[in-house]
Each structure stands twice: as C-alpha cells, then as structure tokens.
C-alpha cells in the first residue's frame, strides 16, 4: 500500500529523469534515471519506516497497528530496492524486483478494498497509480534486460557490449573443441565426418579452422556458423529450452564429430536414443 504512493511518485521521478535524459548521452541518462529511482526509494522507504501511519492515511487505509507494521515491512523492501540499484547499476534484477513489488502492492490494495474501514475512492486512485507504475516499471526492466527493445539507438558505451540487432539479421556463433589427433589427421577426415547425418545439421553454413593445441598431439577446432534467426524472441527462447537453438546444435555436432574421430562412432546411452529426458530403462522398441 505504501508503494502506491511510492510507485506514483517514482513514476514522476522517472518522468523527469526521461526529460533530462533526452539532453544527455544514453549511458548517463540510463544511470541518472536509475539513480533517481534509487534515491527516491531510499527516501520513501525511510518515510515508511518512520511515519507509517501518516502514509496509511494518505492512501486511504486506516492507521491501525497492523497496517503500520505492513507499511514498515514495505519500507524495508523499498530501502533494499533503492540501495540495490546503487550497488548493481547495470543489473536488471532490481528493476524486476520493483515490478514484483508493484504487483504485490496491487494485491494489497485489492485486499484493503474489502475492508469497511478503507476509503475506497482514495484506494481506487492508488490502484490506478500503481497499475500505471507497473507498466512503466516493466518497460524499464525489459529495456535493461534486453537492449534490443530499447527505444534509443544503442550506441552508448554502456550498451556496446550487447549490441542491438534487428531480429531477422544473420548472426554468427563460434564454438571450439579439442580433438586428440594431429591437425593433419583431423583436417583429412573432417569433410567426411561433417557429412554424418547427426552432425551435418548443426554445422550448416559453417567455416572451420584447425590449429595445434599448445600441449601437442591435439587439434583445436574452431567453427563459425552463420544463421538466420527465425520466429523472433519467443521462438529463440523455445528452441534454446529444447536445446535446438543453433548454438546448442553446434556444440552437440562438435561433440559428435570429436566422438567419430576419436572413437569411430557416436556414443549412446539408453536415454540418448530417445527424444528428451527418458528413463534409463532399456527399451526394446527404440531405434538408433
């Protein structure tokens, strides 16, 4: 309930941060916005801890001992959330924490609405403010988690590590594996190995390099694969979960290539011949 006020004021703070932001560079803007939010949470948390009853009355609930205790607890959360932003300026975790906080506040307001002692009009206003704040907090957290969806061109120093990419542009992945054979030998058999049906798929559109390992007698194989992302973010997340994304397929293909070269076949367990996790119980019906 307390953050009803908190979220509302936070939104104001964020608004001014955004206004300031337009005139400064992206990274400074991001930092000052986050800092503003952090300072605000520290201030609000302190007020909630020291004057819980006044804040209760402000949002339309009675100033009972029980509500004061809840208000203080939320004050602690607010303080933690604010201090967290200062210590982890580039981490979206605390921003997501605020989203969770907003949802919690909405639930508490809903509960307070059932009480005869509450001022429903003030509460409705508070709920509206929290809902708005929730939307903004989610948007901010998503931007921080995923630089690609930011409205700003991602040219700032801060964002350079994770460049924004248009969703459908080709991507590159590089993976490496060490094979216990000389580079000559690996190179000689590579073109045959990658034609194996279990391997070819993961190595489509790839470039490969072979170099001796510093230990000698081994080859470091590096493969670059270009791929066209499909089905957007949801598709990418789903395929990653099923280990069917290009990076997982490339790793698996490299492991299989190593097995073919070092031991002459791809190793199976009773579970690996089935799709997905499966009891290690041998199955007569299974086909390789």
């Amino acid at each position: 309930m307390a953050t009803t006020v908190g979220s509302f004021l936070r939104r104001s703070a964020r608004g001014s941060g955004q206004r300031n932001g337009r005139s400064v560079s992206g990274s400074t803007r991001g930092q000052s916005l986050a800092q503003g939010m952090g300072w605000f949470s520290v201030g609000l948390g302190t007020a909630q801890l020291l004057a819980p009853r006044a804040l209760s009355r402000m949002i339309g609930i009675d100033d009972s001992d029980r509500n004061a205790a809840i208000m203080r607890a939320i004050g602690v959360r607010e303080l933690a959330s604010g201090l967290g932003i200062f210590s982890q300026r580039n981490d979206a975790t605390f921003l997501w924490g605020r989203v969770v906080g907003d949802i919690m506040d909405l639930a508490l307001i809903g509960a307070a609405g059932a009480s005869a002692r509450s001022d429903r009009r003030k509460l409705a206003g508070a709920a509206l403010a929290v809902a708005g704040a929730l939307a903004l907090d989610m948007a901010t957290a998503r931007k921080r988690s995923n630089p690609e969806v930011t409205e700003l061109p991602a040219t700032s120093d801060q964002d350079r590590d994770e460049p924004a990419e248009a969703d459908e542009s080709p991507r590159q992945i590089r993976k490496a594996i060490t094979i216990s054979r000389s580079p000559d030998e690996v190179q000689r058999v590579w073109s045959d190995v990658v034609r194996h049906p279990d391997i070819a798929d993961g190595l489509a559109y790839s470039q490969v390099s072979f170099c001796p390992s510093p230990r000698g007698g081994e080859t470091e194989v590096r493969v670059d694969v270009a791929y066209e992302p499909r089905l957007g973010k949801v598709g990418a997340a789903a395929s990653k979960l099923a280990r069917k994304d290009p990076a997982s397929r490339l790793s698996q293909s490299l492991r299989h290539a190593k097995q073919l070269i070092e031991i002459g076949e791809i190793v199976h367990s009773d579970a690996s011949i089935h799709r997905g996790p499966h009891p290690a119980r041998p199955d007569r019906e299974a086909r390789l």
């Binding site: 216990s180 367990s269 009891p279 119980r281």
Partner: protein, 390 residues
C-alpha cells in the same frame, strides 16, 4: 529382467524391464552376479541429485559374466568374468590418455546438461542420473557396458565376487582419497566418515605410509570397524569436539592430511547443522558441507584436504580464508577407477588388503528396497550391502 528402479524420493522398486542390447560396437552385455548399494546411491535415494527420472535403473558397482560383445570388442568374449568400473571411459580422448578416466570427454551423451550445471562435463556413469548420461545401472540382472574394451577388468584367478566387486568403485575411491592426501612417512591422517569408502581410505592411508590414522563418525559400530578392522584411532563427533580432540592428538598441529569421505549429506549438531538443513530445504544450497568445513579447519598449516565424498551443487560458508591463509591444498575428484583396478587387484591377491571386511549384509536383488531402507537408516549396523542378482 528384474532391475532395481528409482521411482521417486525414498522409493525403490524391483520391476520387470526389457533386457539391454548392444547400442555401440564397443559395448558388451554383462549378466550380473553381484552388485552393491553405494553410499552415493543414497544421495539419489534421498532425492538430492537432479535429473533422475522415474524408472531409472540404479547401481554403479557391479560385476558378472560377459554374455555378448559388440563387433569391435576383441579382448573379451562370452563367458569372461569381469568387474566393471563405474565411470564410463572411451580410452581415446585427452582425459583418458592422461588417465583422468572419470573425466572422459566422449562418454556422456548429455554433456550439454552437465556443462550448464558444472561448466564442463565429466564422464558418463551407470545409473547415476541423466546429467551423467542416462545410462541404465547395474542393480539388475543384465547391464550394457559401453567401451567394454577399456573398462572391465577380467578376473580369472579364482577370487570370490566379494573379494573383487569393490574394485568397481569404493576400494579405488578410498585409495585415491589417500593418494591425493600426499602422505609422507610420519604423517597423521584424519578421515571424516566411516562408511565403506572411509574404511578403505583409512586402510589405504596405512598402505601409503601414514603413521597414524584418526577416524571420525557418529555411529559406534562404524567407528569400531574403523578401529578393529582398519586400524584407526577413533573420534565420535557426537561425544567430543572434533577440532579440540584432533589438536590434542596431534600435538596442536592438526592432521597433515584430512580426507572428506562424507559428502553432501553430512550430519552435525547444533546451530550450524540446523542452518544447513534449513538452507537445503529452501533450496538455497544443495549440499551440506559440514564435514568439509571441519576438515579444512582441522588441517595442519600447509596440509592437504582430499575430497572423495560426493557433492552435487553449491555449498555455503565455505572457509576459504582458512584454506588460503594457511597454504592448504584442496584435492578432489570422482575416482579414476581404471587407473587403480589392476594395482589394487594385485594388492588383494598378495593379501595386502582384504576388502570383504566392510560387508555386513548380503541379500537377493529383489530385496533391494529393503536394502536401501536399511542402509539409509543405518539399521542392524548396516555398513555395506551386496545384492546377488544370480
């Protein structure tokens, strides 16, 4: 065939399952005569190991008779009697060539899963979760043994199953624990945990030249076995303060080497134990490192801490300051069993060690559920159970 299957937390059932078959050219099918329940199987039993699936066949300590071999297996034939090492190892990758068999780079078909959890994948293991390959285990009438030309040790000297079965895991594991402890003449070694692996670590420490070995546990019958059969001095941690007693016994220095043969489900008492149980219940840590913490704190300056108890995930309150500021060496690993099988078989043949002293119970395979229950509850002074599959 009959097999002991994991059916959920603290639930093992012996059920009828299809027999295994050759999947790779270097496989063998072994008809199992004797198999054992390992202390690390209790981590599965108690539900502390991720990626177990209902129906998974348990067991990674087994031996028996070869009934079928893949076409690339030249060193074995039907009728050969073999002990099977628990890590599955190809013999050809960089790790195997360096004799780190439990780190074989080719034997875990689910390596990607293990990489997510641990950064890199170790070898596949029989009956020990899908994270370690999803291989069917050996508490069954038959098992498929991959890389049969690398792992299985042929036994043709008339020794009994009981004398050689433990070459599959616990004897080499205890031995490697002592070997990693870097024992020099005059050294005092302390061993946490007097289960079968702890007993073999004690015996191995003596074989490797330890002057004195101190065993720590809370079960009187296990301490008595360590004293009477393995030759250790004993400390019951429920009756004495381990750190104080060890200091007193070692002239204030602490043991030169400390071996953790307990692992992730350590017991303790007081606030620290309650703390770890609570954190584990809330999934804030996956393993309870009570013995490991104590082993580090107890160890002599510049000494060695050797970890052979099994851990799966994350621990809390790890005394890194003690480890670093006192120049301790921490050595760990799942046993590279293949390395030790032949030399230890020779020690058994020469009578230098008789591994049968840990066996307290022998029962038919179909009584596996009773065996697990008895072992986990330490009923009837249970130390080691052998299951007879044939």
């Amino acid at each position: 065939m009959k097999a002991a299957c994991w059916m959920g937390k603290q639930k093992v059932e012996v059920v009828d399952v299809p027999e295994p078959r050759i999947l790779n050219q270097r496989d063998a099918i072994v008809r199992i005569t004797s198999t054992a329940i390992c202390g690390s199987d209790l981590h599965l039993y108690n539900g502390f190991v991720q990626t177990m699936e209902r129906g998974d066949i348990l067991g990674h300590e087994f031996m028996g008779e070869v009934v079928e071999v893949g076409k690339s297996v030249k060193n074995l034939k039907a009728g050969d009697r073999v002990v099977v090492p628990f890590p599955i190892a190809c013999g050809a990758c960089g790790a195997c060539k360096a004799e780190y068999y439990s780190l074989c780079e080719n034997s875990n078909p689910n390596a990607s899963m293990a990489e997510k959890m641990w950064g890199h994948s170790p070898a596949g293991v029989y009956g020990y979760s899908h994270l370690l390959g999803g291989f069917a285990g050996g508490q069954a009438e038959y098992a498929r043994v991959p890389f049969a030309d690398v792992g299985p040790l042929k036994i043709d000297n008339g020794l009994t199953d009981e004398q050689v079965l433990f070459l599959s895991d616990i004897l080499p594991t205890g031995y490697m624990g002592a070997e990693m402890a870097n024992i020099k003449p005059g050294d005092i070694v302390a061993v946490w945990g007097c289960g079968p692996v702890g007993q073999f670590a004690i015996a191995s420490a003596f074989l490797l030249g330890a002057e004195r070995v101190i065993a720590i546990d809370r079960f009187r019958y296990r301490l008595e076995m360590a004293r009477d059969r393995a030759g250790a001095e004993i400390v019951n941690y429920e009756e004495q303060s381990v750190l104080e007693v060890l200091k007193e016994m070692t002239g204030g220095r602490g043991p030169d080497a400390c071996i953790d043969a307990v692992g992730s489900e350590a017991h303790g008492h007081g606030a620290i134990y309650a703390y770890d149980r609570a954190k584990q219940a809330l999934m804030l840590e996956s393993d309870r490192p009570i013995a490991l913490r104590e082993a580090i704190m107890a160890c002599r300056n510049a000494g060695t801490v050797s970890v052979i108890g099994v851990y799966g995930g994350f621990i809390d309150k790890f005394p890194m300051g003690s480890l670093m500021n006192r120049s301790l060496t921490l050595r760990t690993g799942q046993c590279h069993v293949h390395r030790y099988m032949k030399p230890l078989l020779q020690r058994i043949e020469r009578g230098e060690i008789d591994p049968t002293f840990v066996i307290t119970h022998t029962m038919p395979l179909h009584e596996a559920p009773r065996g697990y229950d008895m072992f986990v509850n330490k009923e009837d002074d249970c130390e080691k159970i052998i299951l007879k599959a044939a």
